[in-house]
Symmetry: C2
Subunit: 428 residues, 2 copies
Amino acid sequence: MTTTLAPEIHAGVRFLAEVFAGAPLEHVGFRLWDGTPWPDEKTRRTTIVLQHRGALRAMFSSASEKGLAEAYLADDFDIAGDVEAAFELTDFLGRRTAPRGLAALVQYYHLRRLPAAPARPRSNRAFAATGGRRHSLERDRRAVTYHYDVSNDFFRLWLDRQMVYSCAYFARADDDLDTAQTAKLDLLCRKLRLRPGQRLLDIGCGWGGLALHAARHYGVNVMGVTLSRPQVELATARAAEAGLDRAVTFAARDYRELSEADRYDAIVSVGMSEHVGAEQLAGYFETVGRRLKPGGVFLNHAIGDGARPRRRLGASFSDAYVFPDGDIPPVPVVLRAAEAAGLEVRDVENLREHYALTLRHWVRRLETGHEAARAHVDEATYRVWRLYMAGSAYGFAHGHLAVYQVLLSKPGLGGAAGLPLTRRDWYA
Amino acid sequence: MTTTLAPEIHAGVRFLAEVFAGAPLEHVGFRLWDGTPWPDEKTRRTTIVLQHRGALRAMFSSASEKGLAEAYLADDFDIAGDVEAAFELTDFLGRRTAPRGLAALVQYYHLRRLPAAPARPRSNRAFAATGGRRHSLERDRRAVTYHYDVSNDFFRLWLDRQMVYSCAYFARADDDLDTAQTAKLDLLCRKLRLRPGQRLLDIGCGWGGLALHAARHYGVNVMGVTLSRPQVELATARAAEAGLDRAVTFAARDYRELSEADRYDAIVSVGMSEHVGAEQLAGYFETVGRRLKPGGVFLNHAIGDGARPRRRLGASFSDAYVFPDGDIPPVPVVLRAAEAAGLEVRDVENLREHYALTLRHWVRRLETGHEAARAHVDEATYRVWRLYMAGSAYGFAHGHLAVYQVLLSKPGLGGAAGLPLTRRDWYA
């Protein structure tokens, strides 16, 4: 068959066959710029659609996942069908090319014999990491708002009704997203064992979903902080609308800027500590621990590298386009930092399968809302979210990523934690 | 009042007043060899009874917890009443004398002005740590049998009916010990989600309580291993008596001597990994992980230093007399070792309050059975157990010690753990 192909197509097919020799191609195939399918005509769950003759050069010349992603953002290729399955191939490449990296392989297979990519403007969407020390207050503010200030309306399109932007909790795998997010908010409140009149601090409160749930259903007073002003604005408006504005306060504040005078019965942080930085974690727990009354509890919910982290292909897509300065150390590192701050590890639950389910909901809803999304963000931004969320779903499903709810306590008088003997009440 | 005391008594009282200046003496007082109470006549929960004029020299001249314990083993002093509360004073001394140590304080307060201890034979009960590299197969066998081979009848006196020598699980704090130990065995089986016909490996099976419970109530086949032959003998006899000898096998074997051919659906290890050694932990998890089928689970239940470990007073009592070569790293170290072996952290539960309750049952029962115990062990051995168990109860209650049940999984095909989405079934 290859003998009948035009020389450029032949070179492209040969390149793919060499780079993906031994790859799992049950679910993912390619379509070249003239329509030629590879490895065969069989319809697959996912098709990598090469948009022009220079697509392979554009995808592979930087020999990194960042370069691959940039080629997708610039529409050198598109991904038709199930975008999550496409990560089977990057996963394969990571394993195949470790430890030398993709560059050696690509070099060996004569990428330069392929047609050059057309000259055209590249997206300047990447985070500008210049200026400011990593994890300074100012740079963290820029890094965080880079992700969360894209557009409230954009997030509203594909998040659940309460706009909870973290792993949901599925009592059953086929629960809908609204049900699963409400279940997650309630699980957090049960783990914190909130009682009416208590003071709760929510660090990284997002659009206020958890704070409002806790105030409404558990009668607590909540202070919610985030670095994103659009989040504060919407959360504040939602509290007023719900008649909860006396119980709940939101502020644009860093965890290092909390009032030294305030003490809370319980503290929760969901999907925020990924922005703190592994080296700052001990300081984070120290700072948060000081805000806690003796006998109080702190629930930290965060993504971490799984026990079998993936092998990354060179420069990181996430660092540049998704979560600049983000850091997701494995859970033992998080626990060690918490203990160093005198907080006691009481309960740890791995919810990675829940995050895979959550992300699949988000990707489906984002894809369904593609046109509507384009009213709020450009195509590159849409593609950043589609790609990162599908890749994360793949990572959680395969155990490259994990997400842990960690319940910590600050012992009271004589070291007493003051907690019930069992976790049975969380499941009553 | 002090003016009316004999000079030796006066010196003793002055020494106590200096060493324990600022100590919490609500629960613990002293009685000197002539009957003089210190700090006053008030009756307290605990009395340290100095048996002769040389008692204080005997207690403090080595300026270590090991020396203090040895003075108790040799009956230079006795502890009347609640032995656990006596640890308030060693805890105080640890805090007061850190970081320079007790020696400087004792020196300063002129211990040598006190009468000398009478010359008499010291106990040779301590573990002879000579011979064999730490954590070699041979030395581990000696270190473990040193503790567990004391006498089956001795352990039977104060353990529960099923002879479970690890932290029980109290649904209510006032549950009796038999109830709480049965609840613990069942909790372990539920966490492992055992199903009929599965193969379970129990590493450090003790006298077989867990293996018999799992076979009887969950229909699994169990291989139990321990380094203690008396444990194997009694466990085997109990299996025969229960008609479970076809389902359960016990063997005297190290975890490093398990057959390479065997694979298990589930593995459990309760109170064994404290003997492995922190440096060997990664190898331990690697070795155990190899015995597990993909998709299988491993529950490791172990004591670890708490988030606020106590300040030890010099040479360790436990190393010399209780758990030679024992090692109880904090839980983050355990989890890091497990992850390094490719095992995934699924669930972690801190049960420290349960161990305090368990140990108080054991101490009470041991004290009640003091006379009966003396039919099986000498007085020094009785005192080793009374002291270590009460001190451990104090440590667990105060958060110096913790005990964690850690559920690990060995991911199967494509990284799938194959577990239910929630822990609800453990509490149904």
